[in-house]
């Protein structure tokens, strides 16, 4: 049965700022796991409270999926301490799995010859529900994820987005205390990704602790309250999303300029000459008036913009070529490589 986590304990801004009194539902301390000589996890720690969305960020091979598999008991940790919804995954298999929902990364975890409804009823019954209760619950969660009209359609003809929503619906059948989501949006279009994130956020609002693994670095801003960045099995960063953004070191900017010089002439040589040793600038092939500014190490953005203005260009807009989150991600993972 579902865990006895109370929705009253869930904070109003669930996902971003869990209440300090919210129950600690995922606790990972110094966990390690190797596969032969390959170290998949090396001293990883994180905690997630009820109502919190904790993003697990990292490039391919970082250890994200291995950590989720440790949390579900599919893989045993070599060392460290793991508690999920009050259970030790290595020992309390049945109790744990009654309290934890999982949205796997692949779309092959559903029976493609069965309808969405039959899939949910089947998994509901494996959760211990009687047929009638499983059917009723299946209809409820299908409606919640917007698939009620496709309930009797074979899953094999669902789109990726629909299959992913069904996968989320399956995790919702038992109202889990903890939801583990493995790269749920990596192959979804933006609209479907927003829908899936919305469903997960709703669950967090009701007090469920969410562990959300992703490589889509930008989706965690405004969505996750905390983030752990893994690279090569080690924790490179752990904290809030704004703290992660503080690691960003943007060096490339997209500028939109208006040429207000009296004498005309090709803009690129004039801009380069104006920048001097501060950096380089090149026109984008997309639109006239759009440029990419690359700063040299130690150069300050304000000085570079002033230099551009001095040689007769008016600054219309300026933005990072990449987001701060992406910059932080790259900065931190590059540190690891260095």
């Amino acid at each position: 049965m579902p865990a006895t986590h109370s929705s009253e304990q869930a904070p109003a801004t669930a996902g971003l700022q869990p209440a300090p009194t919210a129950p600690l539902l995922v606790e990972v301390r110094d966990v390690s796991r190797s596969f032969g000589r390959v170290v998949a996890l090396d001293g990883v720690s994180l905690v997630v409270r009820g109502g919190e969305i904790h993003a697990l960020l990292g490039p391919n091979g970082a250890g994200k999926t291995t950590l989720l598999r440790v949390l579900t008991g599919l893989v045993e940790a070599d060392g460290g301490h793991v508690r999920v919804a009050g259970c030790d995954p290595a020992r309390s298999g049945r109790s744990l799995r009654a309290r934890v929902g999982t949205v796997p990364s692949g779309d092959r975890t559903l029976y493609l010859r069965l309808s969405g409804l039959e899939n949910l009823v089947f998994f509901g019954r494996l959760q211990g529900l009687r047929r009638r209760a499983a059917t009723r619950r299946a209809h409820e969660v299908l409606e919640a994820v917007g698939l009620e009209e496709a309930a009797r359609t074979p899953v094999g003809v669902y789109s990726h987005g629909m299959q992913k929503r069904l996968s989320v619906a399956r995790a919702l059948i038992v109202d889990p205390a903890v939801l583990l989501v493995d790269e749920a949006t990596h192959d979804l279009d933006p609209e479907a990704a927003v829908t899936v994130r919305g469903l997960v956020r709703d669950l967090a609002d009701r007090g469920t602790a969410i562990v959300w693994t992703t490589q889509r670095v930008d989706e965690i801003r405004g969505f996750a309250g905390a983030v752990t960045l893994l690279a090569k099995g080690r924790t490179r960063f752990s904290g809030s999303v704004p703290e992660l953004i503080a690691h960003a070191l943007p060096r490339r900017y997209l500028l939109r300029l208006a040429d207000v010089r009296a004498d005309g002439g090709p803009p690129a040589p004039a801009l380069d000459a104006g920048l001097g040793g501060l950096g380089s600038i090149e026109a984008t092939s997309v639109d006239a008036g759009h440029y990419v500014l690359s700063l040299e190490d130690g150069a300050v953005l304000g000085d570079a913009l002033e230099a551009v203005r001095t040689v007769g260009f008016q600054l219309l807009s300026c933005r990072d070529e990449r987001s701060e989150v992406e910059e932080a991600f790259l900065a931190l993972t590059r540190e690891e490589d260095a």
Partner: protein
Amino acid sequence: MIDAAPPDERGFSVFLREAIKLPAFARRDMIVAWSYRFAFFSDAFALVLQAFLFYFVGLLVDDSKLPEYGGSQVSYMQFVVVGIALAAFVQVGLGRVSAAMRQEQMQGTLEAILLTPTSPATIQLGSVVYDLVYVPLRTAIFLVAVAIGFGLEFNADGLVPALLVLVAFVPFVWGLGLISAAGTITFRGGSAGVGFAVALMTLASGAYFPLDLLPDWLASLAVLNPMAIAIDGMREPLLGTVSWPETVDAILILVPLSVISLLAGIFAFRQALRRERRLGTLGLY
């Protein structure tokens, strides 16, 4: 705060909770099987064709070389049809038991099932529960259809003892299937020697020809073959007369063999899953 998780329950309540999940597996597999209607009907058609094949082969066979049942001479078609039915049962049953988990693994649904609060034993049994019902039913329908179609005479009183022998034999096949499934999960690829095991058992079973035709050394080994015991235990009441002492004797030999096979299968399967968890390779295929 969240309550401390209760320890995993054990005992009869857990047995019941697990048992009520089995119909869900059966329903799932029935829907899937029915969705492949062509395969469903072509399987039945192939079995009928096989019966025709042996009918024509039987025209070449001297019936006097066949054993007598209940003091009466039987035709080759009568003799072989019980063998065909049981050999098909072993082939389909063993093949599906061993392939069921592999299929889940290949489909990618094995991990999804293992993430539910369902025991590995229930998952394995559940994955074949449809076949455990369907295959004996298919065998019985085949026997009746062939008897009517070819005008074969079977002893109707022998149906119950023959069915009891079959029931005593089912766990033996299931146990072998579990051992094979464990091998399949561990070593990937193929059905871990199922074809070889079926061929060997069938050769030394007397399904298609009397065991007397085998070389002495092989014939003496063949009488220990559970499949041979099952076939003989079914032929006697169906083709001859019902002798409960002989039926009980056959069952008494089959039951311990079935128990050993089943226990060995469950042990091997659990060890295979445990190993996969330890290595973290369950999802690989």
